[in-house]
């Protein structure tokens, strides 16, 4: 069943990409399509989706986008599960308590707060970078290296094929979005581990540092970090007294007496750690994830419009189709090869006397001039064609006899009017031979071209009469 595309998704992007590589239609087809959707002419996304719906069947299925996206989904789910488990294991490791040494709050805060914050900062920096800088930054991300594992998957070739065609900016946001998702799942794993340990074990927390930091300063630092939630959940903030009693000294006994005495209070730290994880690692990351999701959709839409061929399509949608051609095809004329069977040299005939000299479309004066120039003469000299009437022409044709020399303008092709006259001459039984002499313009000494001779010869040949000859006077 044909998929319908209602909005720009990865599937529509991939299918459109493949379609455009093999089919963009003609200007005429695209303009007709656009004219039928006139209200959408100023809504490029909508009209392109509609065009995709109409022509999707033409796309060669080099890569099945549905299958590819499902593979991608599986790969992302697999990585997501992996991140969740790694987060959980990390949490279990950080919160493991043997009863000998309390859990280091600073270690935990590093993973629940510092690492997410710096990773978000990295994401922000990556989002703002482009080109080679972004390429370099991606190399620092574990996700980039994990994705190298794709080369071992069966869909590696499909993945590479698509990756080559996907715009860099879109690839960047796909990467950043997946990075946020996986980081979020890692943090959720961490949070689950914290809740699980708190519920299932009695653990004690402490803090320790070589630096000269007293309990008051550390307390102030913690209160400052709790700024986003301290108004709403004041009970999650550890008291100064708790901070004091949970300071751990490496030179003391493993667990000093005061810590043992306040063991029930030391566990109260979990609320603060849970809120820190929830806010810094989960809520903030969720915001980053949502932003990346939003941005990814925007970039997807933008790159959808930037695909090769889209500018042409949109231009053809909007530009009137101008056609100047004939709707029906021309029947091409068959031109027979020239035979020259009716051509003879003037030199053979020059001394002969003609009974008639007839000038087709020449005036009487012009004929006299030609005769003088060619040293030709005849008993009867007539002008035919042009402004003469048919009756006049008929009379010349009927009165002609023996050998007739017919002058024609070489540059004027033989019309049917001339052929009619010639046929009358041929029909005259007293006429033995008709010789057609081509004459160029006076300015060029009556010379004519080979091409003109060929045209006349072809026409005369077509008559199939043995009486008529074309004279080659060159």
């Amino acid at each position: 069943m044909q998929t319908k595309y209602h909005k720009i998704t990865f599937k529509s992007y991939f299918d459109f990409l493949q379609l455009l590589q093999s089919y963009v239609g003609t200007h005429e087809e695209n303009r007709i399509f656009a004219l039928k959707q006139e209200p959408l002419l100023n809504k490029p996304k909508e009209i392109l989706l509609l065009w995709l719906n109409t022509h999707a069947f033409r796309a060669p299925k080099v890569v099945d986008s549905e299958k590819f996206l499902s593979y991608m989904g599986i790969a992302t789910n697999f990585l997501g599960l992996f991140a969740l488990i790694v987060g959980f294991i990390t949490g279990m490791g950080l919160l493991s308590y043997s009863g000998q040494e309390p859990i280091n709050i600073i270690y935990y805060l590093f993973f629940a707060m510092m690492l997410p914050l710096s990773s978000m900062l990295f994401s922000l920096f990556s989002a703002m970078s482009k080109g080679r800088l972004f390429e370099f930054l991606t190399l620092l991300s574990p996700l980039y290296w994990i994705e190298k594992l794709f080369s071992f998957f069966s869909f590696k070739e499909q993945f590479d094929l698509f990756k080559k065609s996907i715009a860099d900016n879109l690839q960047k946001w796909i990467f950043l979005n997946r990075l946020q998702l996986l980081s979020l799942l890692f943090s959720i794993g961490l949070f689950i581990a914290l809740i699980f340990i708190v519920v299932s074990q009695d653990i004690a927390f402490s803090w320790s540092t070589t630096l000269d930091v007293d309990a008051k300063s550390f307390h102030d630092f913690l209160v400052a970090l709790a700024l986003p939630w301290r108004e709403f959940f004041p009970s999650t903030i550890p008291s100064l007294e708790l901070v004091e009693i949970s300071q751990h000294y490496r030179l003391g006994v493993k667990l000093d007496h005061s810590m043992v005495e306040h063991a029930d209070k030391l566990g109260a730290w979990w609320r603060y750690l849970a809120m820190a994880t929830l806010f810094y690692a989960i809520v903030l990351r969720s915001l980053f994830y949502l932003f990346s999701l939003f941005k990814l959709q925007k970039v997807l839409e933008q790159e959808f419009l930037n695909l090769d061929g889209v500018t042409r399509l949109l231009r053809e949608f909007r530009t009137p189709f101008v056609s100047t051609k004939a709707p029906e095809k021309e029947k091409h004329l068959d031109i027979k090869e020239e035979q020259k069977t009716h051509v003879k040299e003037l030199i053979d005939t020059i001394d002969d006397n003609y009974h008639n000299i007839v000038g087709w479309n020449f005036t009487s004066d012009e004929i006299l001039l030609i005769n003088d120039s060619k040293k030709l003469n005849a008993s009867s000299i007539n002008s035919v064609g042009g402004n003469h009437t048919f009756e006049e022409d008929e009379s010349v044709a009927q009165e002609a006899k023996e050998r007739v020399l017919l002058y024609v303008k070489s540059w004027e092709p033989p019309t049917m009017d001339f052929i009619d006259f010639l046929e009358e001459l041929i029909a005259n039984k007293r006429v033995e031979e008709i010789e057609v002499l081509l004459l160029g313009t006076l300015e060029r000494g009556y010379s004519y071209s080979e091409k003109e001779l060929a045209i006349w010869n072809r026409k005369i040949e077509g008559l199939g009469s043995r009486k008529v000859w074309v004279i080659d006077a060159k």
Binding site: D168, T210, F321, S323, T324, A326, K331, T415, D417, T441
Partner: protein
Amino acid sequence: MQNSVESKYPKFAVVGHPNKGKSSIVSSLSLDDSIQIGDTPGTTQVKRGFPLKVDGKIIYELFDTPGFQRARRVLAWLNKQEPVSADKRADVVRAFIFEHKEDERFRDEIELLEPIMEGAGIIYVVDASKPYGSEYEVEMEILRWCGQPSMAILNLIGEDDYREQWKSALGHYFRMVRTFNPLTTTFYDHISLLESISQLKEEWTEPIKEAISVLEGLQQQKIEQTLNAIVLNMKKTLSFVYKESIKGQKATPEEEVVLKEKYQKKIINYEKRQRKSIEEIWNHKSIEKVEDSLRLDGVGLFSKESASIFGLSEKELIVTGASAGAMGGLGIDLLFGGSSLFLGSIIGGAVGGIGAKFGFNNLYEVKLLGQKLGKRELTIGPMQNLNFPYILLGRALYHSSMVAKRSHALRESLKLDDKNFYTEQIIDSEMRKKLEKVHVLLRKGDTVSEELWMAYKESILKSFKTLLS
């Protein structure tokens, strides 16, 4: 009887004696190089309409018609009828068509008179390179009987010029006489002729104005599309990189030669494709060319060998090593509760990175289950020759301008072998400076910003327009 079938859009019938260039004129005005044009009289046997359509709506229609064959007989028939006043003469012509519709003798005359009697304006074509003859008066007289607005076109097919002679004669029959050579016509001549045609009849002024504006828009579109095709080819060619795996550690001279040939072939094909697309843009689909092929032997292609292991480049491998080292170092830092001031990470990163750098080539020889882990590739491109982009662009501009200016009536080959023209005249040093910014980036394989592309296109457009004018 009035013109009952007169259409809403103007029509023009190009008529005349056989072989006077009617089809050439229609070919050039309809921008169609597929029309058969021949020396043999009677090449056009039936009338053929060439409508200028915008989104299917006809703005005007041009008719190519066969030449007069038995003009004297037609005029004789017309004269033989009952004498009629001038306003009824067109009806007599209609009667002639009606009566001789099936008469083979008058097939050509019927074909040429029909569109006229359906309201088409007359464009009478003569060859003004040959002397005037009174036999033409018969044809002109028949056309006068038709009573349609008319103009004459003096077409100079040969070298001689008898225009003055023709003008004196044609002036008696036609309101307007214009010279128009379809073989040398430019876009501006085309527009100018249309402007003249628009003067033939008041009702035709607006549609022809619209047609002119459509054609001007179409010309602009074609220029833009040509520009895009040129820029796309420049982008593809200048940043083109060809890679192929090689067997040994170093490419053999044979391997290098084969790869260079493949690279060159690809670039030559890019140019061929660009030329074809430009010819299609300008509606020259049956064009034959005499041209010099793009030669790349002397431009010194850039080539380098690069190796990769599992698809990672050297850079990637170094960063991997450095990251792995830094992660190890970070573990040590954490073990010391941060008191090591992240020295562990720094040292670890440096060791990992340097190790990867030096280990890169050695890894190539590592064998896993009898297979080499790495593969060696020979890479050719991008083209480093500084002059090459200008040769390529010069050729593209030269070809495009020749195609754009070429009349659709021409059937001879397009000669594109004037090397001096495209290397010296098209791209001056000022333009080079502007273009070089983009070429440098393409040579490096860097991304070119949208602004730079715009400036690049603008420079090329300016040069293209100069060539067109």
